[in-house]
Symmetry: C2
Subunit: 615 residues, 2 copies
């Protein structure tokens, strides 16, 4: 254990305080008081000999990780790296300015940000994913997460706490900065650090109480305790003072997200005392260990051929995950306690070490997946399409963290059937489309499932993969090609009156409609729009040009769905786009009954086609 | 306390088991084993003299409430009301059929459903709202929530547990049916009921362990304990056997969501023994108490006039909530620990009893709001627009519960400024549009805020109300009219080349662009599209007909936003709809910098207008 240079650390803390105060005053913006409460906690961690990282190589595999779950304490976060010599004082004073990478809450524009935070209650899950990754890769790095006391009200934190205990993550260390005050007043437990200890200990963590979070010796002892090897994660619970160091706002309400005037700043800097701007905080070096990984080709198809039978796309997705897992050791699978439904249990059977049961706690599952992703893994996250709504905030935030997560949502649409509306993903396409740069794919058979999942795995970025419960006939040949942003024409003649656009199960309904209409001498073109985002603009425009109308049929609510996506890209042809979508409150029934009720089945397509061509 | 008629209760339990088994076998669908584990727990509650309700008046204010948070145990739920004489055996046998109100998970089509469940981890929050409502209305009814052990992994449950303890809800009784097995195998804690007790007790509940959840005496003692008046909510934690009563699947894995064949059913019915189909379970009557309520007019404007200064719409919303609160005692406000930002603290100052601090736990906040709504209250739920994504699953599920919740999302859009992307609601319109029958409103000044909030309060149904941080000049007069589904033309001439459609802050940018263009002799029409769902179809079609193009400008991501909503309704004119929306990753900066960067400011409008009119 390190020997503390108390005098130097005290100097470091004074400089951190001065930096925080000066930067937020310059910005006329920022969370000054929330930053000041954590100064000693973070200074001791980074510069007290505990934290180990190559600061010149932030992505190094064996660096300790530090996540500010209380992202609003970013002035402290940036000041730490300033004291470490990595951010100039000048840059610090440009906090929150448009061109500055020092944003209001940490983003990837700042090189030491492990994951963008600012929506509270997410850091511990992300850290948990990183800690699981260390176990998997046999790396000794530790993951530290700085938490605010207010954010402990978020259930996602308790999901992370319970799972971290379950996985015995003794390499995960949380630090709660219990500064008593939330944004609008006292938190639920105010300064009662025992209340946090009772709860967290009951969940199976070891805990350490710091009675004075501004006493460097106490803080140091806490980290010494945390680094002793046991089979439990550690939560350090520190009583601190919000706004510590400046009498103007120390421990006072109504100062959250407030800054000092220039004059007040002078008063505070005086209170802090002599500041040594030349001092540099030293961070220890980590062990030179690299994980052993094999990143093979994503060629599932050469290993597995589907038989000639009906498959649900959810089953095909499970099979494909297993096959892809054989080719690339970076793929890990997380499932929300539904692996026998999503078929991710096929992956589990083959690769138990790379399968993580996340139980019914989707927020933490997605947060942990982001943690894996940030450490170079390719997480496949499985649950019902509907239940990804549970983690929308985590999904939303992930887009700001340069993510690489594959979300496989099964049981989408009303074709789910008898289980009823609560289990039906009917707004999942709208949700994932609204996540920037998120690919949205919906296969219509086993072969397109496998081919598209390969593409998804090879693509760096978030991908949503929508699958369903119903077993469907195979439509494609092993040699057919699929790509992100592509589509496939299934029926084509030079007599086509209009184009029916399906995706997933509605492709099959469109094909049935084709037969009915063909028997009446009416020809329609059929497009399988398997890539909803990005979307095949060229093909859609060309079809709009060539046929009288585009009829989009989707097993999803109208809003934010496939038809709206199509209309958004066909420009002047948008008036030609018509839509059949789920528009009545669904209920329990068979898949066919529900497709019929919602008027997205073959009958409804036939009827609408005739209406559109005026027959 | 009631004296148990053990013999009768045993008969009731046998009938419940037979009903559950027969119904799920008939349906070839349904969660048989999850229903069987809770038979004694629920039979004792309802028919053991504890539960008090007028079964012929399910909406009676002082009925005890029963929520099946483990909604998949619906066969048990329906069987209970069958035994009570309210559902015929014939109807039971039509479980999960398309025309039957007995759906896969409870919905409002069944009269005894308090709220639709099926997405796990939501019932306790809903129940908490109902328990808070009882306190507010000084009604003695109790709220009982049946929970599964698997769903205790959901963080939302821990949010509810912590808040229920904070509010000392001794009228809230949870019952965990610890049957050891989740869907795919053992839960995290299997049969370790002590693990649940340790955690829940640490959070401040009183707990009662039932070692054998099939022993009627033990179950009865638990409810006796729960009904003793203390200052704490009670959790009954019962060790049960999944599939209890039938050796084929009792306590066995891989039987979740499985049913018996006809032949197996015969075996099981034999094991259960003699069944008395004539027995009727009796439910006790509640006290005849009605709450005192005043449901006045929603006329805030007659009481409050905005001064001539700039207001943010978030501030105007806070003021309006307070003024509306004066006219109607059914309005309650819930806030996620940001009341000094959302200005809901104005309501709190006036009506502390009807204000509920929900801390930073948005899932539970929305669930509780649904509970209030189901009991006749009009909950106004305040947090940042971005953080409603945290509760998307609860919002999604609420649509199936005949809800009446007003969601006020503040700090929407990039105009939020320096705090950065994590705090910006940029997918909130997409999310709320995808909720069926949810009204989506975005006011552009203080007066439209007040008038539209009045409309929102008077409208029965979910409403999303989008407000922002920037202070904006007042655009409207006190006499101007606003309505759900309406819009307002702000600039109109017979020389208008095209129509610019704004909503919220972009209305102001459009007005600036108007001045710039007017100076160059170019006239544009301007529409304030304050009602995004429902949308003013007639006006939009008419504008599309009258002007060359519709340019929609919005401070929201493209996907699922206002432009897509407009394109969806203007039919053949959809090709005329053009869009300016947030399309680059935002960051910290001033509101104006960000509006400019995203090309949704006046300059961008001017440029686009010129491009569209070919100048």
């Amino acid at each position: 254990m390190p020997v503390l240079d108390l005098q130097k650390l005290q100097k470091v803390c004074r400089l951190l305080r001065a930096d925080i105060l000066s930067a937020t005053t310059a910005a006329h913006s920022g969370h000054t008081t929330s930053s000041l409460s954590g100064v000693e906690l973070m200074a001791t961690l980074l510069f007290g000999g505990f934290f180990r990282a190559k600061l010149d190589e932030p992505s190094f595999s064996n660096n300790d990780r530090l996540i500010f779950s209380k992202g609003h304490a970013s002035p402290l976060f940036y000041a730490l790296y300033s004291v470490a010599g990595k951010v100039s004082e000048q840059e610090l004073m440009r906090l929150r300015q448009f061109e500055s990478p020092l944003e209001g809450h940490p983003t990837m524009r700042f090189p030491y940000t492990e994951a963008a935070t600012g929506s509270l209650g997410q850091g511990l899950s992300i850290g948990m994913g990183m800690a699981l990754n260390a176990k998997l890769d046999k790396l000794p790095y530790k993951t530290y997460v700085l938490l605010g006391d207010s954010e402990m009200a978020e259930g996602s934190n308790w999901e992370a706490i319970q799972l971290a205990a379950y996985y015995k993550l003794n390499n995960l260390i949380g630090i709660i900065d219990v500064n008593r005050l939330g944004q609008r007043g006292e938190t639920m437990y105010a300064h009662d650090i025992q209340a946090y200890e009772d709860r967290i200990r009951a969940f199976g963590w070891q805990t350490y109480l710091i009675r004075d979070g501004h006493d460097l010796n106490q803080v140091s002892s806490a980290f010494e305790f945390a680094l002793q090897q046991t089979a439990k994660p550690t939560m350090i619970i520190a009583k601190t003072i919000k706004g510590k160091g400046c009498s103007i706002f120390e421990n006072k309400e109504q100062w959250h997200s407030k800054q000092l005037s220039e004059e007040q700043l002078g008063v505070c800097l005086n209170e802090i005392g002599e500041i040594d701007h030349a001092i540099v905080g030293e961070v220890n070096q980590p062990e030179e260990i690299q994980p052993q990984i094999s990143t093979g080709f994503f060629d599932a198809q050469s290993r597995f051929q589907f038989e000639h039978k009906n498959y649900s796309t959810k089953e095909a997705a499970g099979i494909t995950a297993r096959e892809l897992g054989k080719t690339n050791s970076q793929i890990v699978v997380l499932d929300g306690e539904v692996s026998n439904s999503t078929h991710s249990d096929l992956f589990k059977a083959e690769f138990p070490d790379r399968f993580f049961e996340m139980f019914i706690a989707e927020q933490n599952m997605v947060g942990a997946a982001l943690g894996f992703s940030r450490r170079g893994k390719i997480p496949f996250v499985f649950t019902f399409a509907a239940f990804f709504t549970r983690a929308f905030d985590q999904i939303r935030m992930s887009q700001y963290s340069d993510p690489n997560i594959k979300f496989i949502g099964s049981y989408a649409g009303v074709s789910l059937g008898k289980d009823g509306t609560s289990q039906m993903g009917l707004e999942d396409i709208a949700m994932f489309r609204a996540v920037q740069n998120c690919v949205v794919l919906q296969p219509s058979d086993a072969i397109s499932t496998m081919k598209l999942m390969q593409q998804a795995a090879a693509h760096f970025g978030n991908v949503y993969f929508r699958t369903i419960r119903e077993a469907l006939p195979i439509l494609y040949d092993q040699d057919d090609q699929f790509k992100i942003g592509g589509s496939r024409i299934l029926k084509l003649s030079n007599r086509d009156r209009l184009t029916v656009i399906g995706s997933g199960i509605t492709v099959h309904e469109a094909l049935k409609a084709y037969e009915i209409l063909a028997a009446e001498g009416i020809k329609i073109r059929i497009l399988d729009l398997y890539s909803i985002q990005p979307i095949d603009v060229k093909m859609l425009v060309s079809l709009a040009f060539q046929t009288k109308a585009l009829l989009v049929v989707e097993d999803h609510y109208v809003q934010g769905g496939v038809a709206e996506a199509v209309r958004s890209v066909v420009g002047k042809h948008a008036g030609k786009v018509h839509s059949l979508a789920v528009h009545k409150m669904p209920r329990s029934g068979t898949a066919l009954e529900l497709l019929h009720y919602e008027e997205i089945d073959a009958d409804a397509i036939v009827k609408k086609v005739k209406e559109l061509i005026g027959q």
